[in-house]
Symmetry: C2
Subunit: 274 residues, 2 copies
């Protein structure tokens, strides 16, 4: 991950208390996995195309995605973006988290850049692309067969993922194509709400025993993914983020509950031994 | 308003029962007013810029807007869009309704296209633009003075508004600059909810007496703006949209309640006389 290093000194960067205990490094979703997860979470994107003069044009589109993460659009040639795509196939698609945080620049988003192409009429590629689009955008059945609409596939060449302030990376196009969406993502928000409502004591044990903050006074969950759980820890020294890995990466959202219970048991056992 | 006329015949367009009584034409927000209303409703947009090769790049930005509707961005030169803007100032900004309907292509959105420019350091224009951005994006205070960030203003040259399926128009740039956001918009969703929860009888009277549907069996509100109220009317002949004007355009959201009451009285008086 790159981190912004050149903001200049404005003298008021918040300080974060460091951990007091060593912790194992915890894997995170790769930029490719995070990008694929964002695509799996919505059917809505902002498309950038080029008008006849080569100027950029930003528009709203719906999309589905092929197995390799190539977005499938359905564009009318009566709309600017449809005419633009027909004139110059270079395009870029930006997708954000569907539930944006209060500070939207803290949100995850991804920009895909590449070239739009139209699968040939009657081809298996067209049938597959059309099916993927309709599955993601049920209301497209109303217009997908209108004569002015055409199915376009974005061949992805560049993938820029931004995970919020100072978290960003390029994903190699091949890695993007091969990566899978985080299977935990569809239930992550619900799990975080549940953990914070009913299991604050467990989160505190995890933060103290496994998160590097034995002086934690309270802890809340800020996120979960297939690799682990993100915590916000309150200590007498201030507030800090912490991250703890599950025993092994999850392959299904249904494993979240058992993984949380296992982590709590591990934390409590460690605290009893200390 | 233009209406799409070239979809070809797919043979299953839904039919809508026509009104049975003549009604006065009801003004709608102009494309310029609708565009300004969208900008007033959010601080989040999708920016399209050009990379060094002239290819489009779509990214997430926050913005405020000057009195004339010119968006003010705060871009880092460490980010692609900041570098792109410095290399070629042509840009386009797309803004959607902040609360998207279930079918996102039924949502209102606007594309602004124009040229980005940087107010000179120390100028009154920079101070004004910076203040407008900070008022709209409070969290920007954290980074607005970082040395890699700069304030950019989009000089708007083209305005394309889309109000949902088949509702779209270009707004002249001068008209856009002079138009005002709908003052009713911030309370429109709440008013619709309230009318539908507590005043279905009043909506039915309005639909029967003033909306052109004397055979209405029920009616609900689907939207309100400074010029009038949009209804969905159920009749034995099917479902139809209707629109009824307030007695005069509203200038403040606080007038919504009195305008609704006045419309109900007018409708009931007309029904008693018929």
């Amino acid at each position: 991950m790159n981190v912004l290093r050149d903001h200049g000194d404005v003298g008021d960067a918040p300080s974060v208390p460091p951990p007091l205990a060593e912790t194992d490094p915890v894997p995170r979703l790769s930029a490719a996995e995070a990008a694929r997860t964002l695509l799996a979470g919505t059917n809505l994107a902002a498309l950038a195309t080029l008008d006849g003069s080569g100027a950029p044009w930003s528009s709203l589109v719906t999309f589905g995605a092929l197995e390799d993460g190539s977005p499938v659009l359905c564009l009318s040639r009566l709309a600017e973006h449809g005419r633009n795509a027909a004139g110059d196939p270079r395009a870029s698609l930006m997708i954000t988290e569907s539930a944006l945080p209060a500070d939207p620049l803290a949100a995850g988003r991804v920009t895909l850049a590449g070239t739009l192409w139209r699968p040939a009429g009657g081809s298996a590629e067209l049938a597959a692309a059309r099916a993927v689009h309709l599955a993601a955008v049920p209301s497209a059945r109303i217009y997908v067969d209108f004569s002015d609409f055409a199915v376009w596939v974005l061949a992805v060449e560049r993938v820029r993922w931004v995970g919020g302030y100072g978290r960003m990376d390029w994903a190699p196009a091949e890695g993007y194509g091969a990566a899978a969406p985080d299977p935990v993502a569809p239930r992550a928000a619900g799990a975080v709400t549940h953990l914070n409502a009913d299991h604050r004591d467990a989160l505190l044990s995890i933060a103290r025993a496994l998160g590097g903050y034995p002086d934690a006074a309270s802890a809340s969950a800020s996120g979960v993914d297939r690799y682990g759980i993100d915590l916000i820890v309150e200590t007498p020294r201030g507030r800090a983020p912490a991250r703890v890995a599950w025993s092994s990466p999850l392959t299904d959202a249904a494993e979240l509950r058992a993984a949380s219970v296992a982590l709590t048991h591990r934390a409590r056992a460690a605290l009893e031994q200390s």
